[in-house]
């Protein structure tokens, strides 16, 4: 196709590589991104779980916050405990509205490197980044400095072979704890080192890394990784099916400003101290929901038959009353059956509850299940 992406789309530093790899480019969050490569979504998904895959996620927003009280400042916008976050560790959290709705979900890293005591590194969703950074500046502008890294690329290397592949280029990275981060040298065969920041995290439920790279060195790093026999390039299609099987939320589908972290079944992100002290947007509502329960909850939904149930499918109880809605659904290649998640009235949220799904005018049987569909296989440090 000539240029299905259109003229107004931004491109990542790996755009030429995607095209040379045969990536099928589609518009996503204002960027031209590969939805799949010639391998196809199904095999890309299975390859990632069997070996490892390389994803370009450079469209995501990367930024650094700096300030004398950067931790206290950011804690005023999120429910997570950053004071208790050790140096070199990553925390998953959410920016919240005054009523406890989710403005975005994000990764917050407290760098361990000397001289970074007053810094936090943020990675936010592509589609939310302008709004997120505006929100942070509007609320915290007098307390922090925000530096966006527009020129940096972000790669995700995900799968059980990720560590043994990456350690060929970045010595010691295989010992990094899950949800930890550090700067590293990525050694190219040319003898040149590329300064990168590694995060042992991801969006597939597998072990793996996210790698922040200066944009002009991203293609060299990507090519070095793609030359490894275990690695295939993976598009956004498989990224979505992998995260869905892993029970992870997609912003804009599974979480948004109308859902709180409690409703989203993300209560674990609310720090113990924060629960006691409050002091984050929507704290009253969120703490009340923790104590009293929420009206609706995000749950896993397992269709019993073969037909996938897509987003916006109505969930009915056994007598046909509407009790919720699917927010993400499709086919899970690793579990080899349809998988879905959605919001359901809390009375029906117990795993094992029988429900019905309205698919193309017919009711299909389904069951509330615990997430994830594909067990998480994150790295566990030997201590």
């Amino acid at each position: 196709m000539a240029d299905p992406a259109g003229a107004d789309l931004k491109t990542t530093p790996l755009n030429a590589l995607h095209i040379s790899l045969g990536g099928k480019m589609v518009p996503f969050a204002g960027y031209s991104m590969p939805v799949q490569y010639p391998l196809g979504v199904l095999k890309e998904h299975l390859h990632t779980r069997a070996h490892a895959g390389l994803f370009d996620v450079s469209h995501m927003g990367q930024a650094e916050l700096t300030g004398d009280d950067v931790i206290g400042a950011l804690e005023s916008l999120i429910p997570g405990d950053l004071k208790g976050l050790a140096a070199g560790r990553i925390r998953y959290s959410t920016l919240l509205t005054e009523t406890g709705g989710i403005i975005d979900d994000l990764m917050i890293t407290k760098p361990a490197e000397p001289g970074s005591e007053k810094k936090l590194f943020l990675i936010v969703n592509a589609g939310c980044k302008e709004g997120d950074f505006d929100h942070i500046l509007r609320r915290l502008g007098s307390r922090i400095k925000l530096t966006r890294f527009e020129d940096r690329a972000l790669l995700a290397l995900q799968g059980p072979s990720a560590a043994k592949v990456l350690v060929r280029f970045a010595a010691g990275c295989d010992a990094m704890a899950f949800m930890s981060s550090r700067v590293a040298k990525f050694a190219l065969a040319s003898g040149h080192d590329v300064d990168v920041r590694l995060f042992r995290s991801g969006y597939t439920g597998e072990d793996g890394y996210e790698i922040s790279i200066p944009g002009d060195r991203a293609e060299a790093v990507a090519n070095a990784l793609l030359a490894q026999p275990e690695i295939q390039p993976i598009g956004l299609g498989a990224r979505d099916s992998l995260r869905l099987e892993a029970g992870l939320c997609l912003y804009g589908s599974d979480i948004d400003t109308t859902t709180t972290p409690v409703e989203a079944n993300l209560s674990w992100i609310i720090g113990k101290r924060r629960k006691l002290e409050g002091g984050f947007p929507g704290a009253n509502k969120i703490i009340e929901q923790i104590n009293m329960g929420a009206q609706k909850m995000r749950v896993g939904i397992q269709p019993i038959g073969k037909a996938p149930a897509r987003a916006h499918t109505e969930i009915l109880d056994e007598i046909g009353k509407t009790i919720g809605e699917i927010t993400s659904g499709g086919f899970g290649p690793s579990v080899n059956k349809p998988v879905a998640m959605g919001y359901i009235q809390t009375a029906f949220a117990t795993p094992g509850t029988k429900v019905q799904l309205m698919v193309r005018g017919q009711t299909l049987p389904a069951e509330v299940v615990a997430l994830p569909f594909a067990p998480h296989r994150y790295f566990k440090s030997k201590s």
Binding site: G40, K43, G237, A238, D240, K306, A307, P338
Partner: protein
């Protein structure tokens, strides 16, 4: 002699006398990607030209297969639901969706022949 016709929704229809076999084209399966679910109509189902006749879903998306002409289903491809990837492997052969009678043969005139469809695909891509 059979004749092959195509719709703008990328179905093919092989016409033999007053009956037809319907599936989706090579181009359509390529656009769709890995097919993971297929629902074919049962014998006797009445179809209107352009109406929904079958369902085909890839990992990412669900699509309808439309009836190219009006008529009645004589057979759904019973092998497809258990082997949906046949649609990718052999879309214009073993990956057929259903067979039907043709109640109004003049509806075939609105469909494209191979040359017109090839041009339609080239223009769309």
């Amino acid at each position: 002699m059979s004749q092959l016709r195509f719709t703008k929704d990328h179905e093919w229809v092989r016409v033999e006398g007053t009956t037809a076999t319907v599936g989706i084209t090579e181009f359509a399966q390529g656009q769709l990607g890995d097919v993971v679910f297929v629902e074919v109509p049962t014998k006797g189902k009445a179809l209107n030209a352009g109406g929904e006749a079958a369902v085909v879903e890839s990992v990412k998306a669900a699509s309808e297969v439309y009836a190219p002409v009006s008529g009645s289903v004589t057979e759904g491809n019973a092998a497809l639901p258990d082997a949906p990837d046949t649609v990718n492997k052999d879309p214009q052969g073993a990956g057929w969706f259903f067979k039907m009678t043709i109640s109004n043969p003049s509806e075939l005139d609105a469909l494209m022949d191979q040359a017109a469809y090839d041009k339609f695909v080239a223009d769309a891509s």
